[in-house]
Structure formats: structure tokens, C-alpha cells
Amino acid sequence: MTAVSTHQMLLDPGMDLTLRPMRYPHFFDRFKDAIKNTWTVEEVDLHSDLADLARLSPAEQHLVSRLVAFFATGDTIVANNLVLNLYQHVNSPEGRLYLSRQLFEEAVHVQFYLNLLDTYVPDLDERTAAFSAVENIPSIARKAEFCFQWIDSIYALRELRSRADRRAFLLNVICFAACIEGLFFYGAFAYVYFLRSRGLLHGLASGTNWVFRDESMHMAFAFDVVDTVRQEEPDLFDAEMEQQVRDMLADAVECEVQFAEDLLVQGVSGMSLADMREYLQHVADRRLAVLGIAPMYGSKNPFAFMELQDVQELSNFFERRVSAYQMGVSGTVSFDDEF
């Protein structure tokens, strides 16, 4: 690989090493914001969840066990795509700084869900089974297949030379942002929020809250990459690609709906399958909106509890760990700053 300093565009092949002058400062800002959000798995107290787990109905327990089985491998898949596909093609050192940071965050998420399963599933055989959910549980295997198909779609590409290469790359980025992080994880998010709005599984909720704070940034970065490429190469994104994105999202919605069927099969009060389907369609429409594509379903969000995640949180410090603090606070002692 050669270090090219004359390249013009983000997807031009190469390994740009020059941070000054900075071509994409918005990527660098995202990198810095991400650092302020640093959290560690040790901060999450999962043991308080054990009492709740015992209180759940069998239907809810089934939901939780499927959910954590999905989490057990979800982030690893995203990390793999980042390493195998994204990092080499996003030719901006500041963009790669962000991706490096994202990779670290995916690793923390993997560690968090590892901890979660070890805590939730004391039986060793059951634990092993949970970790091999991608093979054993059909509803999860189907989602994994979807992911692998898209990882493989550009795995063979070493450089994005042709227009077709770049379009394939964009589809991969959009897939991971809109479908995998933006729909699979987002769907899972709704289940956790549902439980949390009812005061259940605080440990899962607080860890997942931090995970999703990170995931929201990953998604925003990926869409930022898409926007940047579209501005640099407007002809890449045409009606054909729009149709491909719609097909891909429709496929993802179906994957996630069959997962919901599995999760909700025993009947969970407050979360019906019909509502979940509507919710997923609504989320898919939102992903399309980010890309400037007209909505495909016209569905409304049926889950009022999702509003709760859109507003500031205020915890009683003696009940919950407060997640509102930043790392890397800067400055020096002074006595006349405004406050």
C-alpha cells in the first residue's frame, strides 16, 4: 500500500497519514466526543438483576434469554466488519482515529455482554449454548446470515477502484449503520427499554444505555461517511442504489420480525408482536429519512415508552449509577471564569 498525499476523495485507495491540514475535522470531533464517553464494564452492577430475573414471568424470561443470546455475538460481528471492510477504505487518518475508537468500544460491549451472560446464566452448559446462539437458535442464525452476507459482499475488495466498488462499499456501510446497528440493535434496545420502563433489570439497562450511547455515535459516524462520499461523488448514489437500500432494509425488517416472533411467542403484556412490527417498520422509515429516501411503510411508533429515552435522565444517586459524567475534562485552575 502506498501513502498517497495527492488524493482528493475519502474513498480513494491509499493510506493517508496527514492530519494537518485536517480535511475532515467533523470526524476528529466525533473521535474526541467518543473519548469523553468512556465507561468500563466494572461500573455496571449486574447482580441486582438476579432478583429481578427470578421475578419475571416465564414469557419474559424467555424474552430476556433470547435477547442476551443475540447480544452475545452481535458486537463481535460489527467489529469484524469494521476491521475487515471499513478501516481500509475510509482513507482519512482522522476517520481512522474514530474507527479505532469504535473498535475499542465494540470490544468493551463484547466484554459487557460476556459479563452479562456469565452473571445471568450460571449453568455452564446453558452458557455455552447461549454463546453459540448464532448456530443453535434459528431466529438469531437468520440475523447472523444477513450480516455475513453483507460482510462478504465486499470482503474481496482490496481497493475501491471502480464506481461499482464504491457503490458496494456504500451499501456495506449503510447496511451496518441502518440495518445492523440501526435496526437489529435498535430493536433489541426497545426490549431493554420496555423492561427498564417497568423497573426491571437495572444492570442490563444501565450497561445497555451506555452501549447504545456508543452505538448512536457509530451510526452517526457511518451516516456522516455516507454523506461525505455523496457530497464528493454525487453520482454514486442513484435511484438504483435507493432501491437496493430499500430492499436491504425490508429484508432486515423481516429478519427482525421473525426474531420478535420468537421473543414474544409466549405473550408479554405491554409488548405485542403487532406493535413490535410496527415499531420496526417505523425505525426503518427513519433510517431511510436520514438518507433522504421517502418512507416505505408510513408506520408510527406505537411504543410510548420510547419517549423516555429521548429526554434527560435524572437518577437518585443512591439508587442508580449516574452515567452523565465526562472523561478527559480539561483546563487549568483559574479564579475568574464565568460559571
Partner: protein, 783 residues
Amino acid sequence: MTVTTTVPEQRRHGMQVRKRNGDQETVDVNKIVKAVERWVADLDEVDPLRVATKTISGLYDGATTAELDKLSIQTAAELIGEEPQYSKLAARLLAAYVDKEVRLQGVASFSQSIRYAHQQGLIGDATAAFVKRNARKLDDAVLPDNDLRFEYFGLRTVADRYLLRHPQSRLVVETPQYWLLRVACGLSQNPSEAIGFYRLMSSLAYLPSSPTLFNSGTRHTQMSSCFLVDSPKDELDSIYERYHQVAKLSKFSGGIGISWSRIRGRGALIRGTNGKSNGIVPFLKTLDAGVAAVNQGGRRKGAACVYLEPWHPDIEEFLELRDNTGEDSRRTHNLNLANWIPDEFMRRVEADGDWSLIDPSDAPELPDLFGEAFDEAYRRAEKKAVKTVKARDLYGRMMRTLAQTGNGWMTFKDRSNALSNQTGAPGNTIHLSNLCTEILEVNSDDETAVCNLGSINLGAHVSASGVDWEKLRETVRTAVVFLDRVIDINYYPSSQAAASNPRWRPVGLGLMGLQDAFFTLRLPFDSEAAISLSTRVQEEIFLTALETSASLAEEFGSHPAYAETRAAKGDLHPELWGSALGQPERWAALKLRIASHGLRNSLLIAIAPTATIASIAGCYECIEPQVSNLFKRETMSGEFMQINTYLVRELKARGLWTSAVREQIKRAEGSVQQIAELPAEVRSLFRTAWELPQRALIDLAAARAPFIDQSQSLNLFLSAPTIGKLSSMYLYGWKAGLKTSYYLRSRPATRIQQATVAILPAASHEEALACSLENPESCEACQ
């Protein structure tokens, strides 16, 4: 492409629920509508059909009727963000649910509820007998309609955590009104007294603190909120005794403050073994685990705050105990941390001087000294300094800890001691504050300070025409009598606590709903009128509390340690502060009464955070500004949407309570500053804590402080803290004379993507760059 649309009616046609007796029944929308309609007479904005259809939409075939009832409560609660009246509806549905649960166990009256709970071993014998003797009067006193006052969040909290539960079935055995009457009976000597106190609480104009609400009338009457434990002596036995004491105090819902300033630092010689000490961190790690292990009756984990003076050699490691990186064996995730700071440190920070770290084994007298005596001893001990640092560097590290963890509270030793009524005799020293930095009481190796608390809901004493001063005085009088009563009935979990409380008889009467009062009177938090009102209210409360304590002294005698107080020498707190008096004649008359009979209580006022009881009362917490016009509370019971009802009323009156405006507020995370249709003065009134100058919060606190003989839990709010802002702010607070401060509240750098607001078109990169240029700190493009 197939576009699927859902037709919920089809799937739900003929959905069945299982009744409590096992029968199946078809779900009927009209039945749910009827159940809702029962409660909406005064709620004109509630749509019963909407609640019913939404409830059914979330239901599954074969659910139980109990699930259906719970789901309808939840469904109503989820509409609060759209229309606050749904909060009242959800509360009433919940009250009906609780009521049914109690009745199904055969309990039809208050006295039956007490008898039943007594049989289950929940109620103390004395209270059971008192209720039995006065059953008819007490049963008649219950005011079931007062349940209508509750908001959903408050009642949910009550139902989940305050109502007594059957030990096996876990069903609640008392209704909300029975609960408050039970609390009153546990502290009363005759039925009329009990009924008067019950009415006050039931009106939500005053509530005692949670331990009293949990435990009054039960078999374990530990009703105090706060315990202040002196530092262990610098020896192993004493350290392990403290672990034991903390565990006992914690078990019965007490919050612990404990000093650690007497324990030698890392590297100090241990004569007994000729080894070197590992310092305080490993011991605090043990304390951390101990505190987390104690479960307060299933309600929450234990909680403690460790205080350290900044001359201690391990201060730098202490400040890192809450970091989320680094070696985990040197991190304490459950302990809170506070700095107990002598003025000499702040003076050296200002002068940019050196600061000596001194091992307590070389200067064991330091924790017991304050003021000039401390300054002299400290300077003498500096010759033996273990290490010298720049005072500003250490101060900067304290600020960093505050910014990154919210912990490491700044509390000021000299001011706390110099102005305390309890430090009138030599040898009496306040060594620390408590878990919430509002209690300041002397303690020692043999005496653990105790304080029981209660808070007045100021909002309930204010109307648009002003404060009802007579009602406020009446509330204070009742509150002080019952706070004082706790001291004699209380169960003390440790002998050190039992030794202290009867001698000093301190209580902490606080305040909540200050923000409600300001909204009602339309006073911006940082206005002159707000400062003068808040100060006047505090003077009225303190004065009336002292008058009541003087009356109690006339009846029962002064507290045993009265001779050791500054009041015994004729000095009251406002004079020690050097403050002007709003009502000089009343103060003069009071002083004459005190001179002849003394005071029943050494301390009377402390403004606690009121996190939970303010939710029950449905008001804003203590003296705090609102954090947002729209936010959620997270507790063990779940998540609860909180909306500023004063703002909603204002917007409705202006025809602005529309979904577009709601979305604007949500998008701005509860700020109304961008709503152009609102006049500037309205936007100013509805600023959030993040939008107010923090200087104003400090000025308000300092202005009321002369009338607070203990202290106040003062939180400060900076959404993007820097060391520069923090160091300026806390220096200002110290100079303003604050005794203590509490959390630094902060906000995350980025947030989770919002799911329920419309997607906006992405800003072009030119715009993004322009933004960066306006904000050079975050701009890397042109550097």
C-alpha cells in the same frame, strides 16, 4: 416490495383474559373505558377510549385480569409527556389497584390493617395497642380522597417501597392513607395529635424523611436518616469496629458519613510489626465492599460517604477512588467521597502557595482542631511533611474529580465549626458532614452523631398572592414537635449513636418545592425577588423552629448538653454569621425565652436533598432549580416522565401546547429557550438548572445560610465543566461563606439518538465548519 400494514382489530378480535377466579372472559373495551371514566371527573383532557384501546393493543391473548389492570396503569403513565393529566389518572388507577389488593386480604379499615400487619410481625406492640384503643376515632379520620392528590410517580414510589407488605405473599397490607396514619400513630401519644399530624402529611404539605416513613410504628423504629461516624483511631481494632458499626447503621436505612483522617498514610511505619503501612486505600476498599453488601430491607443498597482532610498523605489516591479506569483494587465504586477542607488550604490555593501533606501519626491532633488553633498546629507540623505539593495542583485535582465523577464534594471545616451551636465548649469538634452534606454535628470516638429529618413542601404554602405565613408557621410547629419525638422513640442501631442523640437532640427541618413557589409567584431563580423571598422563608422557618424548641424546653427541659452550646452563651446562628435580621423583635423575644429555659434541640435546620419525598409530594426537590422542563426519573420502580406542569399551563393559555412545540422541547432536551413565540420573560422563568448562572444558586444559598444552623445539600450544575470554571465556582462558594456543597451535576458528551422526534435533514459540512469556527475550542480545522 411488500408493504405490510397492521390491522390490530382483526388479530385482537375475541381476545381472552383470565379472571382471578380462573374464568375466561372476552376483553371488552367498554369495560376498560368505564374503569377509567370513574376517575376523570376533574381531568378534562383525558381520553378514556384512547387509554382503553392502547391498553388492548399491548395485550396478548390469555393474559390475566391483573396484567390487564397493570397494563392500563402503565398505558396511562406513558401518555404523561403528551398531557400531564394522565399522571393523575395513572395514580388513581394504581390507587384502585392497591386498594383492591388490600381489601382482598380481608382488610376493610385502618385498624384492621394494623391488626393484620401486627399479626404478621410487622407492627410494633405499642402502636398496635394504641390503634386498638382508639380504633373508632382513627378509622373515622382516614381521608381516602386525599389519594387524589398523588401524581403517578409519587404513588408508584409509595406503593413499591413504603407500604408494608405481607412477609410471604408480598402483597401490600396498607393503603397509602393507612400508611401515613400508621406513621403518625407511631409518633403520637393521643389520637387527636395523631390525626393532626396525619392530616398534615396527607395534605402533602410536610413529609418526614424516608426512614421515618418506612419504619414509624413498626417493630424496628429506626427513623433517623443520617449518621456521622468519627474517623477510626489509627489502629486495627478501631478500624474493624467501624466496619461493624457502619454495617449496623446501614442495615436500618441510615446514610453514613465517616471520616478517615486519623488513619496513617501509605509508607508510614507500623511499630508493632516494623512494617510499612499500605495507607488508607485498601481499608476503604473493604469499607466499599461492606457497604455494598448491606441491603437496606430490600429497598436499596447501603450508602456511605468518606471524608478526608486535604493534608492527608493519601489525598491524591483518595481523589482517584471513583475513577473508572486504573487498578480496580484501588477503586471504590460504591463509596461517595468528600473533601473536608480547612481555610488554610483555600488561602494557599489563592496565594499559589505550597501545601504540605502530613501523616496523622506525626500530627494526631489535626482532625480535632479548627480555626486558628488548626492553622498553628498545621504550620508546626509542616516540618514533618511527608510531601509538598503546589496547593493549586491539588485543588485542580479536586476539580478534575468533581468534573469526571460528580464526587469529591467540597465541604469547609472551619466555617462549619466556627458557626455551629454545638462547638461552644472546647474539645467539641465537627469532624465531617454526612452522606448528603447538610448535617453538621459534633462527634467523637464514643459518640456517633444522629439526625432525623423532615421537609416542608413550600409549594403547598404558596399561592399566586404570596406565602401563607401563618400556615407555614403552623407546619413548622407541628414538624418540630414530631422531629423531636423521634429522638425518644428511635431505635439506635449502635451504642455510639444511642450515646449522642439524647444528649444533643439535633433535628433537621428542611424545605422542598422552592422551585414550585418561584413558578407560582413567577420569579426567575436568579432574580432579586427570589433571593429575598427565599431568605425570608428561611428566617421564618428557623425562627419558628427555635420558638417551638424553646417551648419544648419550657415543658421538658433543655437538652442535656445545652451548657456546651453557643446558644447557652447567648449566641444564635444569624449573629454568628453576622447577618441582618428581618424580624428583630421576634428574635429579641426569643432570646429572652432561651436565656431562661434553654432549647430542647441543639440544632434545628438542615436542607436535605429530598430526592424521594419530593417525588411523593409531587414537588421539585429541596432548594433546587428544575433540571429540565421535560425529563425522566430513573428509580428502582422504573422510569417516569416528568413534565413541568407550570410550563404546560402557560403554553396552553397561549395556545402553544401543540405537538410541534412539544417536539421542539423534546429535541432541545427540555429547554424552551428556542421557542420564539414565548416572550423573553416567560423563557427566563422557565430556564433549567443548566441554563441558570451557577453564581445565582450560590448567592441564594449564601443569603439563606444565616438561617440554617446546620447546612444545605447544594448541588451545582455545569453541562460542560472545565477545570477553570470549577475552580472559579468553588472559590466563589467558599468566599461566599458556604459551609458545604454537594454534587457537581454534569451531562454526557453525546446522547443516545432520539427515537421519537422527526429526522432533520443533515447539516451541510459548510454549516458544520462554520459552527466550529464560532466555537474555537472544538475546532481543529484551522490550528
